[in-house]
């Protein structure tokens, strides 16, 4: 990326932030040709009415009265649906893995980079809620938080803190058993510490009752700051988010769920452990690799497995993750991958909306368009699962936080020339159909109109 572009990006972020604060606490109405609330049937020609950042009314345009003072976002010809929810993400941080492995007192709040290109990508792809957790290369890795991918500071972005501690069974240097042993040791250290603390406190109270300690003296010692989150974990006061890299660690994961309040994040190679996962009986998060191949040793034939399909077949609800780059960064690609492997469309969509919302305990806030929930929605040029659809606008808590027409990076990618200098250097080169003067520094061309979906037949021989 050249420096010019990054300058323009900063300018863009500031401009949007300013625009957003201006819309503030107003009433906002989104009128759309199609609304997909996820939790209910699709609404044609509908309106979503938001006030103070929350949805107050949703329904047919004929049934919802839009107050005269409302700011109206016209999404005629477009589709509106809730923003996506990610139950587990390692991206968006500067250094997602702490070198020390047993660090439950750390928090991603100190690692989240609001300027990260990944959060920018989130908005571009219609993601509105992200649960950021420490990376998978850890043991007891610190606490996560839920953010929205918009804002200049972590405080701006914060949606919910103290969402739980990251645990990982991924082997670090040593083997799998070593990692399990280390985790067990760490947990038992915490329990011992807690038992010791309780014992000393009880002794103190006992002595005080016996009069050995002055009556006006009170027990003042608190649980060590660095131990507190871990202690909360073993006391089931805090959730743990356990990464299980493959089938081989599932057995231990099952044992750990007996003693801790755990959410499971699964790696890809899990087919051998499906029985155990079924026994787990609660929703899981899948990592971004949804398909993997295995070679049969005898026949040398490759077999493709799809984690989402296996879970769907087992009746286990699952949440999907997005990759940091490549096609898995697109929600529609991930859902498409599920569907290619035979997962029902609604179930796949819920895996990026209702299921993660529920896993995060935010199901009353996000995950669908419903009255009382946060006004988080995306406006798409077409069906959310079509490759040809683009996110036009993202609204978070009633504020517009992203507009495609003002997205400099997309303009950069769709521009005809590399940069202004190059264009100037080439004499006699004129840009056909140059639109109005761009506001940003990146040369602007109209981002392509969505091509006709193949289903309706494009113009044959176009461009000839």
């Amino acid at each position: 990326m050249n420096s010019k572009l990054s300058v323009s990006l900063v300018a863009w972020a500031i401009a949007i932030a300013a625009a957003a604060s201006a819309t503030g606490q107003d009433i906002v109405a989104v009128k759309a040709s199609k609304i997909l609330p996820v939790s209910g049937p699709a609404i044609d020609d509908g309106v979503v009415l938001m006030q103070n950042g929350r949805i107050v009314k949703i329904g047919k345009a004929t049934e919802v009265e839009v107050p005269w003072s409302a700011k109206v976002i016209d999404a005629t010809g477009k589709t509106v649906m809730p923003t996506w929810v990610l139950a587990h993400s390692q991206s968006g941080q500067r250094g997602m893995n702490e070198n020390m492995q047993n660090v439950p007192w750390l928090s991603v709040a100190d690692a989240i980079d609001p300027a990260s290109a990944w959060f920018e990508d989130c908005l571009r792809n219609g993601v509105g809620t992200v649960h950021v957790l420490p990376g998978n290369q850890t043991l007891l890795g610190g606490q996560g938080m839920v953010v929205r991918p918009f804002g200049r500071t972590v405080e701006d972005m914060a949606v919910a803190g103290n969402t739980g501690i990251k645990l990982s069974l991924m082997a670090q240097g040593g083997g799998r058993l070593q990692q399990i042993r280390k985790l067990r040791r760490a947990l038992s250290d915490l329990r011992e510490y807690l038992a010791d603390f309780d014992r000393r406190k009880a002794e103190f109270e006992k002595e005080k009752a016996a009069g050995a300690i002055a009556a006006d003296k009170n027990w003042t010692e608190e649980i060590d700051r660095t131990k507190k989150p871990g202690v909360d974990l073993v006391q089931k006061k805090t959730k743990g988010w356990l990464f299980v890299p493959s089938f081989a660690e599932m057995d231990e994961a099952l044992r750990l769920t007996q003693e801790l309040d755990l959410q499971i994040v699964l790696g890809s190679n899990i087919d051998e452990a499906m029985a155990m996962i079924t026994r787990l009986g609660k929703p899981v998060v899948l990592d971004e690799t949804l398909e993997y191949f295995e070679t049969d040793e005898e026949t040398q034939k490759e077999k493709k497995h799809c984690t989402a399909k296996m879970l769907a077949d087992a009746g286990i609800p699952f949440a999907l993750s997005l990759g940091a780059g490549g096609p898995t960064a697109y929600p529609w690609w991930q859902i498409g991958t599920c569907m290619r492997n035979g997962v029902d469309r609604q179930k796949a969509i819920e895996a990026l909306t209702l299921v993660p919302a529920k896993m995060l305990g935010l199901d009353s806030q996000v995950g669908s368009l419903a009255e009382g929930k946060l006004g988080n929605l995306q406006i798409l040029t077409g069906d959310p699962l079509a490759a040809t659809s683009w996110v036009e606008t993202v609204v978070l808590e009633g504020e517009i936080v992203y507009e495609r027409k003002n997205d400099p990076r997309l303009q950069y990618l769709f521009a005809a020339e590399k940069d202004k200098e190059k264009k100037a250097a080439g004499p006699g080169k004129t840009e056909p159909n140059q639109p109005e003067a761009p506001k940003t520094e990146a040369p602007k061309t109209e981002a392509p109109k969505p091509a006709t979906p193949a289903g309706t037949g494009g113009k044959p021989g176009e461009g000839k």
Binding site: W118, G336, A454
Partner: protein, 407 residues
């Protein structure tokens, strides 16, 4: 215990009836390639060939097996004009930098999983070239994606000559510093300039040989020179792999210098040299349009792939096809076409760019690349529109034989 003899028998049995008995696929949406779509169409195949194609009123021969394809879409088998058939160590002859006469067909492993994966993704014909480690790598070939004997799979034997620009041929090469000179590590070139020098020298020698043979008795036969001569005479297509802007310009320049025509492969920076491409009337084998992820670039060798590229090529009338190319991150061919559509290409054009257009470019359009009477029965039945992210190739047929279930 009897698995193998049985497999042999089933193979033979599967081949014979599939070719003898006609099968009609009806109620399908047919995208024949280079032709308008046919709704509720009928496709009749038999003897490994397309017997009939048309609307719902197309006559179905008596005795033909009928397959109802309601809701499904049928396309020609996809053609990948630049396919990485792996076993990369053997795709490059490191003994020399210029090996025009080496044939990738000699090292093609039809049993490699890349072929099985290609078939599963609806690809029925591929153009395979030697690796990109050599300045002039050798002769590419076009094969169907199913078979056990590479020679029996061949659609076109000497389909192309691969030339590679950029840093790949010079990577890891070291200048001579003591030791024996026959060591493989003393490879030339070590710079981009050196790469071009090798190409120039090779074609210079070929040209000299051409001029000499006019008069004097021919020198000892040199297979490399012979191949290069065919390129100079326009009898063999050169395919030049070039990703970044500078390499694309270089590729065009050196081709113009010796007056041979070349296809530009990968061409991730094509958007920068559009005018030059138009002027040179060059065809582009665009590598992996999905490589332009929205944030960050996946360009190889200093290239800066843009979403705009595919649309620009179309708008400026530059002939192009979509390939998976040498990008390790490239997706299934049909998904690459899907990304091209996302980036602004029409669906029809995108589908043509992975069927009939590459077939024409490779000179195999008499056999495959579109659904037309008399052509090979290479086709794919898709669960839905192939450019939908959720589409699945439900059955893939090569010469009428359903190949997904076979090894």
């Amino acid at each position: 215990m009897l698995r193998f003899p049985l497999l042999g028998i089933t193979l033979v049995c599967a081949l014979l009836p599939a070719q003898d008995k006609a099968t009609a696929y009806k109620n399908a949406r047919l995208l024949p390639g280079g032709q308008p779509p046919i709704e509720n169409g009928v496709l009749v195949v038999g003897g490994g060939k397309v017997l009939a194609i048309g609307g719902a009123d197309t006559a179905i021969p008596a005795g033909a097996a009928v397959v109802d394809c309601a809701g499904k879409t049928i396309t020609p088998g996809l053609v990948d004009a630049s396919f990485r058939a792996s076993n990369s160590a053997d795709m490059n002859e490191n003994g020399d930098e210029v090996t025009p006469h080496l044939r990738v067909l000699d090292t093609l492993d039809p049993d490699h999983r890349s072929f099985a994966r290609a078939r599963a993704a609806g690809v029925t014909a591929v153009h395979v070239m030697p690796g990109s480690r050599n300045v002039i790598g050798g002769l590419g070939c076009v094969v169907k994606t199913f078979g056990t004997d590479p020679r029996a799979m061949v659609l076109k034997e000497d389909a192309s000559l691969r030339i590679t620009m950029g840093s790949e041929p010079s990577q890891e090469n070291r200048p001579i510093r003591g030791g024996g000179v026959d060591s493989i590590y003393y490879r030339r070139p070590t710079t981009r300039m050196g790469v071009v020098w090798e190409v120039r020298r090779a074609f210079f020698d070929a040209k000299a040989a051409m001029e000499q043979t006019a008069g004097a008795p021919p020198a000892a036969p040199n297979p490399g020179i012979e191949v290069l001569t065919r390129v100079l005479k326009g009898q063999l297509t050169a395919v030049t792999t070039a990703r970044s802007e500078q390499d694309l310009r270089t590729a065009l320049r050196i081709a113009a210098e010796f007056g041979y025509r070349t296809i530009l492969e990968e061409a991730q920076d094509a958007h920068v040299v559009i005018d030059e491409l138009v002027a040179a009337k060059t065809t582009v084998m665009l590598g992996a349009p999905s490589a332009t992820v929205v944030a960050g670039s996946a360009g190889g060798d200093g290239a800066d792939p843009r979403s705009a590229t595919v649309r620009l090529l179309a708008d400026r009338g530059i002939p192009f096809v979509i390939t998976t190319g040498s990008n390790l991150q490239s997706l299934d061919l049909v998904r690459e076409a899907m990304f091209a559509v996302r980036n602004g290409l029409s669906a029809t054009r995108a589908l043509d760019a992975i069927t009939i257009e590459p077939a024409r470019l490779l000179g195999i359009d008499q056999r495959t690349g579109s659904l037309a009477v008399g052509k090979d029965a290479d086709f794919v039945v898709w669960s839905t529109d192939p450019l939908d992210p959720a589409s699945v190739a439900e059955s893939v047929h090569i010469d009428g034989l359903s190949v997904l279930a076979l090894r």
